[in-house]
């Protein structure tokens, strides 16, 4: 088993708004091994992006980590001072954002934005930084890198910009790359290219990736491990296979039922009824209970803990308890 590079323990992140405390992340724990790809799936508002931003410490405005630890090689980065945090960002851990159209500064050239990170985190001088920037652009498959360096973001297409974002994130060879819905804002054909590129780069450079997405298709193809989040909590975790073929949480099942695919084209798609929960007023029991078809009385009253449902496969759903009890009852009856 390889080295655990990042560990998140019992993370709670809240936003303090006029209407009260919005608990976006409620006790999320996971760990990331060097060189592996971890997928975090969930719908909008499930806390997946906030988890990613908490690691980078780039929460917007009133957001704050209120509880928990984030350990990088055993050191809690929440205790880092400003300078340590600065060298953590970009050098140790980089992030690619969802929307490449707005994530690049419109008033600076591609070159100056790429070189900025390189100059900040390495000893390279300007000339070397420029060479490195061009090298990175070539690596991510941008043609005519020298010309691109002089261009402004608005002169590039969305796919190109996302490649630039990736080049920027990887320029200082970070240990961890967080990809926050890197393909959501792109055309389908470009999506595939970008994902392929990321897998490719991961093999070449060997960094660990946290892939945050709502797209189960993205996760299926490339992740070693998957975490499914709902309402700021982890509802299921395991290998991609376990999640897809043996899903043990009602939410995951619903999620899988609601995606169209070539294999179930003739079947009817089943959407998950209802709307995502209100994070201002978290229910006492399971976060998903009000939308769950199989909700039981206990689901409304008591929060389910994470429980083993298979090898390397955990889920927090009372249905598993019921199932097991029924099985056991069946065994004893016979």
């Amino acid at each position: 088993m390889s080295e655990k590079i990042l560990e998140v323990k019992n993370l709670h992140t809240s936003f303090f708004t006029d209407s009260g405390e919005v608990k976006a992340v409620n006790g999320v724990s996971f760990s990331l091994e060097a060189g592996k790809i971890l997928g975090i799936v969930g719908e909008s508002g499930s806390g997946k992006s906030v988890t990613a931003y908490s690691i980078m410490q780039i929460l917007a405005g009133t957001g704050k980590v209120v509880e928990g630890e984030i350990l990088y090689k055993g050191e809690n980065i929440l205790n880092y001072n400003k300078n340590q945090m600065r060298s953590f960002r970009g050098k140790v851990c980089s992030i690619i954002f969802q929307d490449p159209m707005t994530s690049l500064n419109p008033t600076f050239t591609i070159g100056s934005q790429l070189m900025e990170a390189i100059l900040l985190h390495t000893d390279r001088n300007k000339e070397q930084a420029r060479e490195r920037a061009a090298e990175m652009l070539t690596l991510v498959g941008v043609n005519e890198p020298e010309k691109r360096l002089k261009q402004y973001p608005h002169e590039l297409s969305g796919g190109m910009r996302q490649r630039v974002m990736i080049a920027m994130a990887l320029a200082c060879e970070p240990d961890i790359l967080i990809a926050d819905e890197p393909t959501t804002a792109l055309d389908v054909t470009i999506q595939a290219q970008i994902l392929e590129l990321m897998q490719d780069l991961q093999k070449k450079l060997g960094m660990a990736i946290i892939m945050v997405t709502h797209d189960l298709g993205v996760i299926a193809g490339m992740c070693d491990e998957v975490i499914v989040m709902y309402g700021g909590r982890v509802c299921e975790r395991g290998t991609a296979d376990a999640i897809f073929y043996h899903s043990a949480h009602e939410y995951t099942k619903g999620l899988l039922r609601s995606i169209p695919s070539a294999s179930n084209m003739k079947e009817k798609l089943v959407p998950i009824e209802g709307t995502p929960i209100n994070l201002l007023n978290m229910p006492k029991g399971c976060a998903f209970c009000s939308r769950c078809d199989n909700a039981m009385k206990i689901c409304l009253e008591q929060k389910p803990d994470e429980m083993w449902v298979g090898e390397d496969h955990l889920a927090s759903c009372w249905m598993n308890v019921k199932k097991e009890m029924q099985e056991k009852a069946g065994v004893t009856n016979e």
Partner: protein, 303 residues
């Protein structure tokens, strides 16, 4: 770029031409000519004077004569003092521009600094003080401010000589002139800075490990200044030509006061001259601010 500038200059010329039209015919709509008040002068003298200034000719001919002169850089002679208008405007503009220039520089620099600080220290006491003072300052008319300054520092405290135009003591006029634009720029910078700080690319810069200071002064400020530039262009034009109020309260012989005396004296060439001068300045400043725009924001194309 060059094509755009040419287009804009052509448009500017049209604008200035229209302004001369408006100014000329409005001015002549004012009943009573420049020589009506001097009742003592005989009709012959009056006729002679009017002939000298071409006032006896039809209005349209007068206009054509005026435009011809204008194209040669001749703004005519004052009907009141007999002095060359161009010269008078140039001299009074020097006074206005000195004070206005100082006021503008102060307003722009302090405005941007205070605005950025307020945005950075959002919801702290520093922010509240800056916002309160700048809101207060935009609520005080310049003549009230100028009068109060005059009253307190010259009359009550006696620190500054009052009616000495040659002392070069521009402190009070500069303060009175810069207060409003400074407060306005402060508020503008703060709002747009807050807007920019919420943008995705600021988050990107932070995620790259750029320090807070650099994020603000490199990545954010440049974008935040775009709306400020729009305001600064026309502001510069009006502040450089001096405020009539401040000039008349501090009895400075600037362009603004020349215009007011021109009106009261029915000094047609003077009114025309100042109007055209101000209009040209305004048009040029607008053009310059649009070009600066392009420098700051590469997204703007001129086609």
């Amino acid at each position: 770029m060059a094509k755009y500038v040419v287009k804009r200059v052509l448009l500017a010329i049209v604008t200035i031409f229209i302004i001369t039209l408006i100014a000329f015919f409005t001015m002549n709509a004012i009943p009573g000519g420049p020589f009506n008040s001097e009742k003592a002068s005989s009709p012959q003298v009056k006729a002679a004077l009017e002939a000298r200034y071409n006032l006896d000719k039809p209005l349209l001919t007068q206009y054509v004569i005026y435009i011809k002169g204008l194209l040669h850089g001749d703004l005519g002679i004052s009907t009141k003092t007999g002095r060359d208008i161009g010269e008078t405007i140039f001299e009074s503009f020097k006074v206005s521009a000195t004070i206005g220039g100082m006021a503008a520089v102060i307003a722009i620099i302090l405005g941007i600094v205070f605005g950025s600080i307020a945005a950075l220290k959002r919801n702290t006491i520093v922010d509240r003080i800056i916002v309160f003072l700048s809101t207060l300052c935009t609520a005080v008319p310049s003549f009230v401010l100028a009068t109060l300054l005059l009253y307190v520092f010259c009359i009550k405290l006696g620190w500054i000589q009052v009616w000495d135009a040659n002392s070069n003591n521009f402190l009070l006029p500069v303060i009175s002139l810069s207060m409003y634009p400074m407060s306005y720029i402060t508020r503008l910078t703060k709002t747009s800075m807050l807007d920019v700080l919420g943008q995705d690319y600021v988050r990107t810069a932070k995620a790259k490990g750029v320090s807070q200071r650099l994020v603000i002064f490199k990545h954010a400020l440049r974008n935040a200044l775009i709306p400020v530039i729009t305001y600064v262009g026309p502001m510069l034009a009006s502040i450089l030509t001096g405020s009539m109020v401040v000039e008349s309260i501090f009895t400075l012989g600037g362009l603004g006061s020349k215009f007011v005396t021109g009106i009261t004296n029915r000094d047609y060439p003077m009114i025309m001259g100042t109007t055209i001068f101000l209009a040209i300045l305004m048009v040029v400043m607008n053009l310059v601010s649009d070009l600066v725009y392009k420098l700051v924001d590469p997204r703007i194309t001129f086609d």
